[in-house]
């Protein structure tokens, strides 16, 4: 069971994600540099958060044009689970793998704080161990995290059950308080908050269990497959 962590020039949560996957949940984890391809036998792909290319022009847009993204696209179409966290989410929307866009926060500032998520879809590879409406204390850290989509898209998201997480409170002006969405098939998930920062109780001042279930869901998903 191989999990790939994609690294772009300037990525900065890649090592955190790697640590959590490999040392906390014991996935067979490997880094993949942006200009290489991905092996066909990979079981899940994670696009970590942070920045890429200094987030110039718009967060995620330059990375979305990296060679590796076409492989991510192909594998995603085959149903391989893909998770984009923060910058990874931004890359997924900029490359068209997920609907919507992420705009500057309403405060116009970078925001780093602990928030609370509500689980809206527990059928994805990353949420199958969570309960519907379960609350997850989790930190955000972004400048462009305000989810936006036009009305038609929002309707479609709702109809297809593509909203995966919402914030409990109004945090940054996101449409319908959306914090994470998935594609129509449900195997590609993007979320702005950082689960990798919340799974170890040492650094989680509130409760690390709910975030852990995100990674345990992936374990279940991959176990089911194998």
């Amino acid at each position: 069971m191989k999990v790939g962590v994609v690294v772009f020039p300037g990525s900065n949560c890649d090592r955190d994600m790697y640590h959590v996957l490999s040392d906390v949940f014991h996935f067979d984890t490997q880094y993949f540099w942006h200009d290489k391809g991905l092996p066909k036998n990979i079981d899940a792909i994670i696009l970590p958060g942070g920045f890429s290319y200094g987030d110039r022009l718009r967060a995620g847009v330059i990375a979305a044009h990296s060679p590796i993204i076409s492989d991510v696209q192909k594998l995603a179409e085959k149903g391989i689970p893909v998770l984009g966290v923060c910058n990874g989410f931004q890359i997924l929307v900029e490359s068209g793998l997920l609907p919507g866009v992420l705009l500057k926060n309403e405060s116009l500032n970078f925001m780093c704080e602990w928030t609370e998520l509500i689980v809206e879809n527990n059928k994805t590879p990353f949420t199958n161990k969570l309960k519907l409406n379960q609350k997850i204390p989790i930190p955000i850290a972004n400048g462009e995290g305000r989810y936006y989509a036009d009305d038609d898209t929002l309707k479609k998201l709702k109809k297809n059950n593509q909203i995966v997480f919402r914030y409990s409170d109004v945090v940054n002006g996101s449409a319908n308080r959306i914090a994470g969405v998935c594609n129509e098939d449900g195997n590609v998930v993007g979320m702005m908050p950082h689960p990798e920062r919340a799974v170890e109780s040492e650094i989680n001042p509130i409760d690390s269990k709910p975030s852990s279930l995100i990674f345990e869901s992936l374990l279940v998903q991959m176990g089911a497959k194998n």
Binding site: N12, H19, Y53, G54, N109, A141, R197
Partner: protein
Amino acid sequence: MSLEPQELDELKSKIGRVPTSTELEIVAAQWSEHCSYKSSKMHLKMLPMTGPLVINEKGYDSGVLDVGGGYVVTAHIESHNHPSAVEPYGGAATGVGGVVRDILSAGTRPIAIFDGLRFGNIEKDKQARWLFKNAVKGIADYGNCLGIPTIGGEVEFDDCYQNYALVDVACVGFGRKDKLIKNHAKKGDVVVLLGGSTGRDGIGGSQFASDSLESEDRSAVQIPDPFIEKLIIEAILEARTQKLIHAMKDLGGGGLSCAVSEIADTLDIGIEMDVNKVHTRENDMHPNEIMVSESQERMLIVTSKVKLKKLQKICEKFRIGCSVIGSVTFDNKVHVKKGNKTFANLSADIIANATLLDLPSKKPSYLKTITHEKKLKPITDYSKMMMKFLSAPNIASKIWVYSQYDHEVGIRTVVKPGGDASVLRLDNGKFLSVKIDGNPKQCYINPREGAIGCFEEACRNVVCTGAKPVGMLDHLQFGSPKDPEIFWTFLESLKGLTDFAKDFGIPCIGGKVSLYNETPAGSIKPTPLIGVLGLIDKKPLVPQKIIDGDCLVIVGDTKDELGGSEYFEYIHKFIGGNCPTVNFKESKKNMNAVLDIISKQIIKSAHDCSKGGLAVAVSELCMTSNIGCNVSLDMVPGEKLSFDRILFSESHSRYLLTVEKKNISKLEKILKKYKVSFKNIGEFGGEKIRFNHNNTSVINLRVDKAHKTWINSLRDLVLHG
């Protein structure tokens, strides 16, 4: 940018000829105050720099501590005051970049940033607001992009910084001891310039930092490029792991001139270099410009020809510039050529070692009367005053600042910003606690005791997390050293710090001096800034939520020490009075007692009592736990004082401990054993913050209202003035 006449004569006599224009530029950059420490160096030697954990190796720009298990922590502090005063965004950002590269130079990964910020009166002055807002954004944009958490700092406003800014940045690194760069060079080694291209930006920067603002050369602005810096970090750490680096130095003030001459001087080698090989941003740069340009995000590396290939490969992967600009020689000369033509050829030792000055000093006359107190205006409603006080820029929560900083990235942050010191977990199972503190208001009234106070406060803050202080960083910021009165305050502060460091066995592991901090209205107040690093072997104290029935215990005496207090200055508009002083014996006793209590895990939290005094410290506890408290001021140990003095005195060595009732006797037993003065002064509960004196209530606030004011006022000030 020029040498003083006697310095020119000296240079001529040392080299026995007339220097070339390039040589003049190089020497002027290196002999500037910023690079040579010529006014301060002979005095800085008094600080204790060694200790059981300190690793002293040549050529490091940062201090190194052995934290056990084969790991080291590195730390350094820098300021970017002059550039930030004219371009706060870029100045603050490039300040972060510079100190991060110092940490990288030792071969360690930067894991945390701290920022100490000072501006004029943001309530009245929109220039101060503009400087503040943009400096914070500059630090945020740079640190966040690098993925290094900014986990602590401080912000202070004072009229003495009108139209000016102090932007101090400290960085902490972490790595394996066996991967530290052991600076050395072998015959035939090459010299490589790695990173961003060299442009005309920042020319004259180090002289700029050494002059007062009036004579500034405004071409010194630098544009930050955190993306390149991030690529440099990863490239260099990869090169370090592959052991491709013999010696390394970051390019800071003085650009190539300083980096080349300092590395040559430290390693006792010569360097022959060709400016044509430097990758430049513009085509027509003169050798002089190339040598002194302070373009950011560049590193100088010495490596062998064989390792060079691998290094170039890494640079290709990260798409960063990598120019072989010269080679190592053994004549100890810095030889700068353009093609075949020589532009400079000087002894590294001459360039790198300016003649040190022993400047005269004289006790400032204002100090004669500063302790005389004026008669204070009576206050009719202390509750109302307290609400105003909680919204004062120096007292209000700094959440508007640190919430813009990614303080979680790196997944090490155990105790987050917002309390006292912040705590990081290390890979060897230990924890590192760090805080920086300054207090120019007290340092102005008493430069010696004020500086000691900053040091003790930073210690107190790390002690509150359960950490034993193991190292100190000092950043000494003063006005013009040529003014004997100012130089006296510099020396006094330094002596104070030295005494404290020696007495407490806390070595100074790094520091920086920034002089000529002059505003149009005169010199800044003495502003030493002290960073303290503490180590926790087992478990840090992470503050727990306070609930109904928990008790409040104060450790340490409250004395008639309101000089430089926020109460005198903000409420009574009075600068003067008795500066708080630290009694070393008491201080140590209190520290040891608190550390012992924390290690026994019998308290819920420990908070230090500092700016704003007991009144503010208790309110902070209440507001962050959203709970009221009843405090009896008559119980507070110390001198017999009027209640406002008990509330607002800023005496040092005081800690507030919160404890469950069931543990109170255990706690008291330990405190008695240590013979510290302490009292159980209150109980938490309800929704009011209440201070009582002789059975009458003197302050009575609703905690939710107080919290709202305290948490929002800084943001509201910045956004709406």
